[in-house]
């Protein structure tokens, strides 16, 4: 697998407040990474650093062998950053006009794909964006981002504001988008919206990367089971229909499906245990 993003010993501050501290990780092409973390964990900041909008004060970040903050045309034509708030889209234009303005700067932009995604979202491509609802504008922005066919797609809370059918369409589009040569990094709080889509999972906490593991490895190490009562020694349990969803160490190599929300909660409650579990493996 080709390494798309290389981050080494990266630290970032807003004023005197350190938001990211000594982060090291590599992200590969052909995967859709899920970036999870509590509010203020530094998810958006990390996306902005990777996208060249912020500069780390220490350490190094390279994307496609380029330094993002230099914002060279060759770098910018290979990435697309979709922020959570889509104030950046020119609302005086329709989705088609917006694409007409900006598509010439993305060499692999696919107009057919763009129109097809707009159709799938049931969006009027000729309607002014300011006349659309927030969710509809977001769909237009997602359509453009995907049709740009860039090597690296950075999405910050993409499912926020989307209705239930659109979330399904979004997952389908993203699954189709993922190729051997592309990498997608999705920051989200809505883990249920993206279940079955994101893999590996990156969890940020306390300015550092707490976990960067594939679902396969997570299910090797952790067990997610529905129990009628809470057994002793579980890392995390939450009441659910028919009993308790329990997360525990997978000592007996049992197979289970990773529940992202439970994984996140278990990780937040037992940071050291989880960290050591994966570190020692």
């Amino acid at each position: 697998m080709k390494r798309m993003i290389q981050i080494h010993d990266l630290s970032f501050k807003y004023g005197n407040k350190e938001v990211l501290s000594n982060i090291t990780m590599n992200l590969e092409a052909g995967k859709i990474y899920g970036l999870l973390g509590e509010n203020g964990a530094g998810k958006t900041t990390l996306l902005k650093i990777i996208g060249g909008l912020q500069r780390p004060y220490r350490g190094k970040c390279t994307v496609c062998d380029e330094i993002p903050f230099q914002r060279t045309p060759s770098f910018l034509s290979r990435i697309y950053y979709l922020p959570e708030e889509i104030d950046y889209i020119q609302t005086d234009y329709s989705a088609l006009q917006f694409a007409d303005l900006n598509a010439p700067f993305y060499p692999k932009f696919d107009w057919d794909k763009f129109k097809k995604i707009l159709e799938e979202f049931d969006l009027d491509a000729n309607k002014k964006l300011r006349k659309l609802s927030h969710g509809q504008s977001k769909k237009a922005a997602i359509s453009f981002a995907v049709a740009a066919n860039v090597d690296l797609l950075l999405l910050d809370e993409p499912s926020n504001g989307l209705d239930i059918p659109s979330k399904t369409i979004f997952r389908k589009i993203m699954a189709e988008y993922c190729l051997e040569t592309t990498c997608t990094l999705i920051s989200t709080h809505q883990v249920r919206d993206l279940e079955n889509l994101i893999d590996p999972i990156i969890i940020l906490d306390n300015r550092a990367v707490l976990m960067n593991e594939s679902l396969e490895r997570i299910s090797e190490k952790l067990c997610f089971l529905l129990e009628s009562s809470v057994p002793s020694g579980v890392l995390y349990a939450e009441p659910t229909l028919g009993g308790y969803l329990c997360v525990s160490e997978n000592r007996n190599q049992r197979e289970s499906r990773v529940n992202l929300e439970a994984l996140f909660n278990a990780t937040m409650q037992h940071k050291t245990v989880i960290h050591n579990l994966f570190k020692n493996a």
């Binding site: 914002r71 045309p73 060759s74 922020p83 950046y88 889209i89 010439p104 700067f105």
Partner: protein, 262 residues
């Protein structure tokens, strides 16, 4: 030049994008700038006792071009450095140099050309068909009489200052820019006052009272050996304000664009 610094094809695409993205101004501009000469023509035709002659029309166009060229960075690129609204611009796959040059072209060339072409075109059309009530051509006047180096450099100074502060300030930029302008004026007036009073005390009152200086007659870089010291100071200040400061502001705008964090 490096492909990542400047590429003519990409630069052209950026110019086209810029012209397309300000198309909302086209209809408004066409209506306003073509409507003004028409309004003057109707006033002349109405026999209300007011005649808007060639000189007035030229002065009006002069003022219009000056004011709109000066504020054009605010009008065309107000959200460029906004942390949310400006992302389309900063993430667009073109170099900072190309984006900067397009910005300068739009403010320094396209804006005055568009105003002069629309206003002047309509003015000439009316003068051609109705020479009795509407005589002379403002375009001719502008080219031959109205433009001078002092005026052009002053416009450039103000415009580059607005462009720089438009990129530097993120929020309440109009108020802050106004504040900087007022502060600069106060400091300049105080400096002139202090300098003048120093020279007044050192010269005979007759010499000082007969001191005369015309910006338009004196070339920007002209300093004579027998010039009064205050004239030399004025000329050095003019060169500093009208040449060095605009160049510094141009470089500063580029630097801010290149290093802006979002």
């Amino acid at each position: 030049m490096n492909n990542n610094t400047f590429q003519p094809d990409r630069f052209y695409r950026l110019i086209v994008r810029n012209l397309k993205s300000i198309r909302k101004y086209w209809v408004q501009s066409l209506l306003i700038f073509a409507g003004l000469p028409l309004l003057f023509f109707l006033i002349n035709l109405s026999n209300m006792g007011i005649e808007i002659d060639l000189h007035s029309r030229t002065s009006f166009l002069n003022g219009l071009v000056t004011s709109l060229v000066v504020v054009s960075p605010f009008m065309l690129f107000f959200n460029y450095n906004h942390p949310k609204k400006g992302l389309t611009e900063v993430m667009l796959a073109a170099s900072v140099l190309e984006k900067y040059l397009v910005m300068q072209l739009a403010c320094l060339l396209f804006t005055p050309l568009a105003i002069v072409a629309i206003y002047g075109g309509m003015d000439s059309l009316l003068a051609f068909f109705f020479s009795n009530t509407y005589s002379g051509h403002v375009i001719q006047q502008i080219i031959h009489n109205s433009l001078n180096l002092h005026q052009i450099t002053t416009i450039l100074l103000l415009q580059q200052a607005i462009l720089f502060f438009n990129l530097l300030f993120v929020r309440r930029k109009v108020v802050k820019t106004g504040g900087v302008f007022i502060l600069t004026m106060i400091v300049t007036i105080a400096a002139i006052g202090i300098t003048a009073s120093l020279f007044e005390s050192g010269s005979s009152s007759d010499e000082f009272n007969h001191f005369n200086f015309d910006f338009n007659e004196r070339g920007l870089f002209t300093i004579y050996a027998d010039d009064h010291p205050i004239v030399i100071i004025i000329q050095i200040t003019r060169i500093f304000m009208l040449v060095i400061v605009p160049l510094a502001l141009m470089a500063g705008s580029y630097f801010v664009m290149k290093n802006k964090r979002y």
